[in-house]
C-alpha cells in the first residue's frame, strides 16, 4: 500500500467516523428491507434458507446505493476533487482508497445486520458457515468497486442519484446471481458453492482491473 492510498483511506475513515452519514443511512435502509421482507414472506425453515441469500444480497445492494451516491459528494461539495486532480499522485490510489473505505462501511453494516437477520429469518445454516466469510466480502467488493466507479462517472450529471442504480444494477447482475446462489448453497447445504465463488473471484478481478485502468480518465474528464 502506497502512502497516498493510505492517506486517502485514513481521511475517508476519519470523516465517516465524525459524520457517520454512510453507515447510518445504510444500516437503517438495510434493516428496513430485511424487516419488510420478513413481514411480507413470513419465512420459516427451508423456505427461509432458500430466500435468505437473495434478501441479504438485495438489502445490501439497495442500502449501498445510498452510501455510494454520497461517495464522491464531499469531494464535489467544495471542489475538493479539483485539488486532488492537481496533486501529482495517481488517480487509481484515490479510487482504490474510496473503494476500500466503502467496502469497510458496507461490511460493518453487514456485520451489524447479521444477528438481526439470523433471528428474524430463524436461520440454521446447513452448509459450511465459514464460507459466508468468503462469499459476502467477494460480493460486497463487486458491488462497491463498480458502485464507486460509476458514482464517479455520474457525478457531474444532474440526475446522478437516479443514474447510479440504472448503470450499476445491470452490471452487477452476474455478481448478484453468484452471491445469491453461493449464499443459498451454503445456507441449505444442498449444493457446492465453489463454482459461484470462483465466478465472484473472476468478476472482482476483471472489474477491479478495468476500473483502476479507467479511473484516471474519469477523474480528469471535464
Amino acid at each position: 500500500m502506497t502512502s497516498a492510498l493510505w492517506t486517502h483511506l485514513v481521511k475517508d475513515l476519519r470523516i465517516e467516523w465524525r459524520s457517520k452519514e454512510a453507515i447510518n443511512s445504510m444500516l437503517f435502509f438495510a434493516l428496513l428491507v430485511v424487516v419488510l421482507f420478513s413481514l411480507a414472506f413470513d419465512p420459516k425453515g427451508a423456505f427461509a434458507r432458500e430466500i435468505a441469500g437473495g434478501v441479504l444480497s438485495v438489502a445490501t445492494m439497495f442500502a449501498s446505493v445510498s452510501a455510494l451516491n454520497q461517495a464522491w459528494a464531499r469531494e464535489i461539495r467544495h471542489q475538493v476533487m479539483d485539488a486532488q486532480r492537481m496533486a501529482p499522485t495517481p488517480g487509481a490510489e484515490l479510487f482504490l482508497a474510496k473503494v476500500l473505505a466503502n467496502f469497510l462501511f458496507v461490511s460493518v453494516v453487514q456485520i451489524l445486520l447479521a444477528p438481526v437477520f439470523l433471528v428474524m429469518y430463524n436461520l440454521h445454516i446447513e452448509g459450511q458457515a465459514w464460507l459466508l466469510a468468503v462469499v459476502l466480502p467477494l460480493g460486497t467488493w463487486a458491488l462497491v468497486v463498480n458502485g464507486t466507479f460509476f458514482a464517479a462517472l455520474s457525478i457531474r450529471s444532474r440526475n446522478r442519484e437516479l443514474l447510479l442504480p440504472l448503470i450499476l444494477f445491470p452490471i452487477f447482475i452476474p455478481a448478484l446471481l453468484a452471491m445469491v446462489q453461493a449464499t443459498t448453497a451454503i445456507l441449505t447445504g444442498e449444493s457446492d458453492p465453489s463454482l459461484w465463488i470462483k465466478m465472484l473471484v473472476g468478476y472482482d478481478i476483471i472489474f477491479t482491473t478495468v476500473s483502476l485502468l479507467l479511473f484516471d480518465v474519469v477523474l480528469h474528464a471535464e
Binding site: 492517506t7 481521511k11 471542489q79 479539483d82 485539488a83 486532480r85 492537481m86 496533486a87 501529482p88
Partner: protein, 227 residues
C-alpha cells in the same frame, strides 16, 4: 488579440497561451486569447461576471483543456503534466468541512511526495491562522476558510500561483495581510495570477492588469505595484 509584456523573452516565460479558445457547447467562454506570463510577476485579471477569468485560470491550472490553441508552462510543458508546480485556489475552499485546518493541510501535503512542502502549521501561521485551533473547517467563518484555502495552495511551494477571487469574504485588514504575503511570494521569482472584482485591493502587487470582456482580451496594461 495577443497580450504580451514588451520585455517578455522565452527564458523568462512562466506560461504562454497561444490563441486559446474554450467552448462549453455553443458558448465561447474564451475567444482567441494569447497571453505571455513572465516569471516573478503578478498579473491581475479583471472583467465582469462571465468574462472568462475563471476559465482562463482553470486552463492554466490544467483543469480544463482549451478547445482551440495551446497552453504551455515552464518552458513548454503541458499544464496537466506540470500540475505539481502549480497552485490553484478556487472560489470554493477545496477543503473538507469535517476536518480541522491542520488535518486538511496534512492530507494535501502528503499528496505531494518528493516535493519540499511547508509544514501545515507553518502554512497556517503564514496566512495568519492559529495552527492549534481545534475546530473543524465547517465551524470556520468564510474569511478563515479563505485563508486556510490559501494555506493549502502555498503548502507545496508552487511556482505558478493561480488565485480565483482570493479577497472575497475578507475584511480590509485581512486583504492587506494577504497582499503582503503574496508580495513576498512573488519575490521568490514565482508568478501569481489573480482574478478579482476588487481591482484596488490587488493594485499594490499588480505588475500587469489584464482586462477580459466576453472571453476576449480587452486590454493588457502595466500596473503600478507598490510592494
Amino acid at each position: 488579440m495577443t497580450a504580451q509584456a514588451p520585455e517578455a523573452a522565452s527564458s523568462t516565460l512562466c506560461a504562454r497561451l497561444d490563441t486559446v479558445s474554450k467552448l462549453f457547447g455553443s458558448f465561447a467562454a474564451l475567444r482567441q486569447v494569447s497571453v505571455d506570463l513572465e516569471l516573478g510577476r503578478c498579473y491581475v485579471l479583471i472583467g465582469e461576471n462571465g468574462a472568462g477569468k475563471s476559465t482562463l485560470l482553470r486552463i492554466l491550472a490544467g483543469l480544463l483543456r482549451p478547445s482551440h490553441g495551446t497552453v504551455k508552462v515552464f518552458g513548454g510543458q503541458d499544464p496537466h503534466e506540470a500540475r505539481a508546480r502549480i497552485g490553484y485556489m478556487s472560489h470554493a475552499p477545496m477543503l473538507y468541512d469535517e476536518l480541522t485546518a491542520q488535518e486538511n493541510l496534512r492530507y494535501f501535503a502528503s499528496l505531494y511526495p518528493g516535493r519540499a512542502c511547508l509544514s501545515p502549521a507553518e502554512a497556517l501561521r503564514q496566512v495568519g491562522l492559529d495552527p492549534e485551533l481545534d475546530r473543524t473547517l465547517g465551524q470556520y467563518s468564510q474569511g478563515m476558510r479563505q485563508r486556510t484555502s490559501l494555506a493549502r495552495v502555498l503548502l507545496p511551494a508552487p511556482e505558478l500561483l493561480l488565485l480565483d477571487e482570493p479577497f472575497s469574504n475578507m475584511d480590509v485588514e485581512s486583504v492587506r495581510q494577504m497582499v503582503e504575503l503574496l508580495a513576498g511570494f512573488r519575490q521568490g521569482n514565482r508568478t501569481i495570477v489573480i482574478t478579482t472584482h476588487q481591482r484596488d485591493s490587488a493594485a499594490p502587487i499588480a505588475d500587469w492588469v489584464l482586462a477580459l470582456h466576453a472571453g476576449r482580451v480587452k486590454s493588457f496594461e502595466p500596473g503600478s505595484p507598490t510592494l
